[in-house]
């Protein structure tokens, strides 16, 4: 479907014996500002590398902007229309900031000189600076400039706030939001900063142990995910099994807590039916949803 910017089906990637990706299904609609969340080693960087043909999947398919990511000619086309900020922020040590910009610019006829100027100022970058002299945060800012000025349809970002101070993060988020608003650009970014992600993302993918745990509109996901805290008259251990299917469960004396993903009403009804003393339904932040899901999976 060409109205999906990214479309992944059953992606498998093994390194040695370990599956980095174990049947990943993921999709990102065009024009979305999508967050990609997962623990270290969950498969985020591997996914991004497969999308850009730095690595090849062992099974499954991945399409970017409607094109096959594994195709030789198609991958070149993908990279013409995509911008990437890698996890490792090193750049060519023998160049200066200005030379890296000129080098990158030469590949993109749609380069936005106006954005380049703006970000040079906003990120306080100077063309004469040597790459070897740049701090990590400054390197990240340069990467962001190179990605945002490209005139790309899709922007892939791997830890784009690496080394950025709070002001840098703010400038980054504003730039991101401005791009999506003005040019209808699709953004797919992986980050550990869940607060910032929650602030600007409208789409979410959670990856865990090489598979997708959640994938959809962020508002809808947050509406469906509620923490239900049930207090019973007696020890609730025996009742835990009743709710195990609803989601990650925590049992502590008389209290049973379940992270319900959808079907919150049926959980509440069942709790009442079992004679719960109190049933409390709590909304969750993205961070809480993520931690509960990931820890619950481990249990």
């Amino acid at each position: 479907m060409t109205d999906e910017a990214i479309s992944i089906h059953g992606l498998v990637k093994r390194y040695g014996g370990n599956p980095a990706l174990d049947g990943l299904n993921l999709s990102v609609p065009r024009g979305a500002l999508a967050g990609f969340v997962g623990l270290n080693g969950a498969g985020k960087t591997t996914t991004l590398r497969i999308l850009l043909q730095m690595a090849r999947a062992d099974a499954g398919s991945a399409r970017v902007l409607g094109l096959n990511a594994a195709g030789h000619v198609e991958s070149l086309d993908i990279r013409r229309r995509t911008a990437f900020v890698p996890e490792r922020k090193e750049l060519f040590p023998y160049m200066t900031v200005g030379e890296v910009i000129a080098f990158t610019k030469s590949f993109y006829p749609g380069w936005r000189g106006d954005l380049e100027k703006r970000y040079l100022k906003d990120f306080a970058l100077r063309r004469e600076q040597k790459i070897t002299q740049l701090s990590k945060g400054t390197l990240t800012k340069l990467h962001l400039l190179l990605a945002f000025s490209r005139g790309a349809e899709l922007i892939l970002l791997d830890e784009p706030t690496d080394g950025l101070d709070p002001l840098g993060v703010e400038v980054f988020l504003q730039a991101l939001v401005g791009l999506v608003a003005e040019d209808g650009v699709t953004v797919f970014f992986s980050s550990h900063r869940l607060n910032e992600m929650e602030q600007v993302a409208d789409y979410l993918c959670i990856i865990h142990q090489g598979r997708a745990l959640l994938n959809g509109n962020l508002d809808e996901l947050k509406a469906a995910c509620r923490r239900v805290v049930m207090v019973f008259h007696d020890d609730s251990r025996a009742l835990a099994a009743e709710f195990a299917a609803a989601g990650p469960l925590k049992q502590d004396g008389r209290t049973l807590t379940v992270l319900a993903n959808g079907a919150v009403d049926s959980v509440v009804a069942r709790a009442r039916g079992l004679g719960a003393r109190s049933v409390d339904v709590q909304p969750l932040s993205l961070r809480e949803i993520f931690l509960d899901l990931v820890r619950g999976d481990a249990q």
Binding site: R49, L52, Q53, M54, A55, R56, H72, L76, D77, R79, R80, T82, A83, F84, P86, E87, R88, K89, E90, L91, F92, P93, Y94, M95, A102, F103, T104, S106, F107, Y108, H143
Partner: protein, 237 residues
């Protein structure tokens, strides 16, 4: 801008090679001016050209060969791959193109080194009064270039498979091994002796081309360059 980038990656190595060229020229001069030597000038020259063809030019190929992707430094031989390659690989440039441009840059300077060295030796031979006619030196050029081509291909293949550090170590080790084997080769018929063929000596003396050696180094160059392109396109980063 891939050409300019390749130049940036090569330039310090080219400076090193230029220094090697100067020392080769100085060495040749001293050798030719050594009137007290027991061996005749032509024998001394032959020895020197064997040194050039079998040791110095191969080392130059190890210095100048590069993949354009695996390592992105211009100074030093890095352990492991430089992470800037992730950025480069995300750009719309094919790996084949990156490799071929970088190889062309390195290859041109390698060839330039060989040609300049040989021409300089020829001029010095004339100028130093040894009266060795230029065609006895310049006639060796195609053979030396061929040897360099074969080893340049091999060095390129090493830079694809290994990081800069190990590509360099292995490259120099292979050359040292090959050069050390020279003694063993001397028991073979002349047309199988790399030193005699690649220095062009046999051609100058007898007009014999020594096809086995020629074919070997030609195929070495072609096959390793083809393998380099094949591998770089399939490599996982």
């Amino acid at each position: 801008m891939m050409w300019r980038k390749s130049w940036w990656e090569c330039r310090f190595r080219v400076v090193c090679v230029a220094l090697i060229y100067l020392s080769v020229s100085a060495g040749a001069l001293l050798l030719l001016l050594n009137h007290g030597a027991s061996a005749p000038p032509s024998a001394r020259l032959n020895f020197y050209v064997i040194l050039l063809a079998c040791l110095i030019a191969p080392i130059v190929t190890v210095l100048l060969a590069g993949s354009g992707i695996n390592s992105q430094t211009s100074w030093g031989m890095l352990h492991g791959f430089h992470a800037s390659m992730y950025f480069l690989l995300s750009l719309p440039v094919s790996r084949r193109r990156a490799l071929l441009i970088r190889s062309a840059m390195g290859g041109v300077f390698t060839a330039l080194f060989v040609v300049l060295s040989v021409c300089t030796i020829s001029l010095l031979a004339l100028w130093s009064g040894t009266r060795i006619p230029p065609n006895q030196v310049l006639g060796r050029l195609p053979f030396i270039l061929l040897g360099a081509f074969g080893l340049f291909g091999l060095s390129t293949l090493l830079t694809i498979v290994f990081d800069e550090f190990w590509a360099g170590m292995l490259g120099v080790s292979i050359i040292g091994f090959f050069f050390g084997m020279e003694i063993a080769f001397q028991s073979l018929p002349i047309r199988f002796q790399p030193a005699e063929i690649l220095s062009g000596q046999q051609f100058i003396l007898t007009g014999a081309v020594g096809w086995p050696v020629i074919a070997f180094f030609f195929l070495l160059g072609v096959i390793s360059m083809a393998a380099s392109v094949y591998l770089v396109e399939r490599k996982e980063y």
